[in-house]
Amino acid sequence: MTTSSVSANGFNKFLHSIRIPPVYYFLLVIFIGGAALDFYFADGQILTNRAILTNIFVRSVALGIVAVGQTFVLIGASIDLSVAYTISMTAVMSSFIMQGDPTKVPTAIFVVFIIGAVIGLVNGLIITKLGVNSFIATLGTALILKGILNATFANFTGSVPRSYETFGYGRIGPIPISIFVLLGVVLLGWFILARTKFGSQLYGVGGNSEVARLSGLRTHRVLIGAHVICSLTAVLTGLFIVSRLRAGAPWIGPDGVYDLESVATTVIGGTALSGGKGGVWGTLGGVLIFGVIDTLFNQLGVNPFLKNVLRGVIIILAVASYTLRSKREAA
């Protein structure tokens, strides 16, 4: 074998190994189509204005972080509908503990991550040990969190110190810090899924839990781990949102529809609801699609009610493009 053929081989292998998720072609089409529409019907800012381009990402940060966590859960053939209230819980608890005092920031962050881990643990335990379907289990914990939150904090509570707002509004050079955080979470998510034993085991558990069990995996532990990770990403989303809103209120999670939208973007990104398949890069693509259409609708001045109609259509069509050729019956 000559060196040149080795390197060519290596390059092909590389191309093969990165496997660009198909959602990015969809994203590209939407982006180009959107830019063209924007160019003809509005002021063409999407392509020319860097601030609007970065804002597409900033819009995607909150949903993106939690969608990474949702990807873990969906790969494990589970689902987490409690993320919206986990986000609320985080936002409320962190601003309640901080009370505008910069010295309390570490305590607050520590406490909310612990709470997040406990929520994930409870979800995981109910699903694995009590054998409750994940849809109902996490819907149930969502309702419990909702009740506790609304009964305890009826309002904006406390506030975050100015310094903490850097997370939401700060920039490194021209690029908002939050974008780095999102990319960091995606990279970490990718690393865990693709490069660690845990990730590999999660694919196993989601793909076929019986095979995973027979291969000697502790399937319950793996699934619980995925749920804990998902709740932790929800916590991070909550911390990000509270830094932008200055204070936390119980409704910010459900108002953002983070539960269903994180599932929708993850599925659009190519992760199957049935598990064992997908990855965080696809999810990022799905989230960016939502960011692009949001920006596009604003640029074009689309009627807000029509936006929801179009969102619904896009969710269904995007997923249909994957499932159309599948032989299995859907339910």
């Binding site: 490069r195 034993k197 845990f198 590999s200 694919y203 019986e210 291969s215 000697g216 995996l217």
Partner: protein, 528 residues
């Protein structure tokens, strides 16, 4: 025992301690006693074949040894020490690994990821991908399959045989002392079987204990040192391979002489007109299928796994319809694009995989029996007339016909024994008044008694003028039941054999060998 250098020989000579031993294992499933007080010893450097009918308890025993099931009672000894595996991983860690009958690969993951699932080479939880692929390649090389299979290929791109090799690679990658193989050769071609046999000998000289389940007695005699026969969950006996012949083993397996076991074949005058004729039909899997099925006959379809037996049934029944060619049903040309059409043209299909394809596990016996009748009636039918009551009255009759002994038809079928489940699955086709029956492995996984009664049932059907197409991987069953035999190989029909052909005739065709006399035999069959 001080001379370490010649350990193996010494051990053999002096009645050594077994590597793995099971004592008094009993395991019960709902409605079935799967294993009844079974004790066995497995030695180092020895290939030990475990044979038995379907449902004899072989797979259950293997799963208990590998930690996938927990025995109700009894104990397992590994190198003389008592062990209890509550989880397959514990078995792996102690050196007992297993290849299962069903495929156990994750289709969306690579070969290397599958082989080392849960045991990836890693530091602090981070996988060393290069080492992973390298290790996988080494294992594949050991199997001589490194040219054929790349460690980075996704498993859903592999052929059935390649997947089987990956399974074997996965099992031997454990550096095990004991390797259990549950029908590893079922899907392999002869060449691949030879590779496997060579490999088994290699593993044997390494000092491993190999446990081997197979239906193919020829192979068993090729590589096994010892043969154990199980029947109905009980141990019949263990023999040295060189001391016995196939007949003896078969006798031990079935416990009676074959002629008594099967109902008499049909007589020529019983066969009526052709009810199903397939002319040059093909689809993406099947090539140029031609066949005729007559009233009152049992047409056996033989072939190795992956030869297209099940696919043929699915094509006939409209699950994976033919793309080209014509089909005639009862003399009229018909296109069958969906099972519901096939049922309309009075066909019935007993599927191979009862649990996945034949039954509604959570529904009562009654609703399972009436499913096909209901699917033929109008959707809203029966609300305002007494059709439903009529249908309900059918249930006891059907139960009697298939000999399901229960007075509670509201029992969920998931709680029935395998044999009764199969009878329930059969009864829904009796209810639909089908006159062309396709049976795909009608006696898989049920006990001998139930088996016999199903065979009687099939014969009973043909006596009523029903045409039966019976697919089976069990040669004795094919030979014992069929009035004619079609043998499939590589998606096409390799040839036709008359009733009472020998197993070797069938096997030759099934492995892709042209028989010189097969056309003659056809002629003879025609003359008779």
């Amino acid at each position: 025992m001080t001379e370490e250098q010649n350990k193996t020989t010494v051990l053999r000579k002096t009645q050594p301690e077994p590597l793995l031993e099971v004592r008094n294992i009993t395991k019960r499933f709902p409605g079935v006693l799967a294993l009844d007080d079974v004790s066995l010893k497995f030695m180092q450097g020895e290939v030990h074949a475990v044979v038995g009918e379907n449902g004899a308890g072989k797979s259950t025993l293997m799963k208990i040894m590998a930690g996938a099931y927990i025995a109700d009672s009894g104990e397992i000894l590994l190198q003389g020490k008592k062990v209890s595996f509550s989880h397959p991983q514990e078995a792996h860690e102690q050196g007992v690994s297993i290849i299962y009958q069903e495929f156990n690969l994750l289709p969306e993951r690579t070969v290397a990821q599958n082989i080392y699932l849960g045991r990836e080479p890693s530091k602090f939880g981070v996988i060393d991908i290069r080492a992973l692929n390298k290790k996988a390649l080494t294992v594949l090389k050991e199997l001589g399959a490194d040219e054929m299979i790349s460690p980075t290929a996704l498993c859903n791109t592999l052929s059935v045989a390649e997947q089987q090799i990956v399974e074997i690679a996965k099992a031997i990658s454990f550096d095990s002392k004991v390797l259990i193989m549950d029908e590893p050769t079922a899907a392999l071609t002869l060449v691949e079987v030879r590779i496997l046999n060579a490999l088994v000998s290699r593993l044997k000289t390494r000092g491993m204990a190999l446990i081997f389940i197979s239906h193919r007695l020829v192979e068993v005699f090729d590589i096994a040192d010892k043969i154990t026969v199980l029947k109905d969950g009980q141990l019949v006996g263990t023999e040295l391979a060189k001391d016995v012949n196939a007949e003896k083993i078969v006798h031990m397996m079935v416990g009676r002489i074959l002629d008594h076991y099967f109902p008499p074949l049909g007589k020529k005058e019983d066969f009526g007109e052709v009810v199903l004729r397939v002319n040059n039909c093909s689809n993406h899997f099947l090539k140029n299928i031609n066949l005729e099925l007559r009233k009152g006959e049992v047409l056996g379809i033989a072939g190795l796994q992956g030869s297209g037996r099940t696919e043929l049934a699915q094509a006939l029944f409209g699950v994976m319809p033919f793309k080209t060619g014509t089909m005639e049903i009862n003399g009229k040309t018909r296109t069958v694009k969906a099972p519901s059409t096939a049922i309309k043209y009075s066909m019935g299909f007993m599927t191979e995989d009862r649990k996945a394809e034949g039954l509604l596990p959570k529904q009562p016996i009654r609703d399972n029996m009436l499913l096909t009748v209901r699917s033929m009636q109008s959707i809203l039918g029966n609300i305002f007339n007494d059709g439903i009551r009529k249908s309900r009255k059918m249930v006891p009759t059907l139960a009697k016909q298939v000999d399901v002994r229960t007075d509670n038809y509201d029992r969920e079928v998931q709680f029935l024994s395998g044999g009764n489940q199969q009878k329930v699955a059969l009864s829904k086709w009796l209810a639909s008044n089908a006159d062309i029956f396709i049976f795909d492995e009608p006696t898989r996984g049920i006990d001998v008694e139930a088996k016999a009664s199903i065979h009687d049932l099939i014969r009973g059907l043909t006596k009523k003028g029903i045409a039966v197409l019976m697919i089976s991987s069990e040669l004795p069953e094919i030979i014992g039941m069929s009035d004619r035999i079609l043998v499939m190989w590589d998606g096409s029909i390799a040839g036709e054999l008359p009733a009472k052909s020998t197993e070797s005739d069938v096997m030759l065709l099934a492995t892709g060998h042209e028989t010189n006399n097969h056309s003659n035999k056809n002629d003879e069959a025609g003359k008779e």
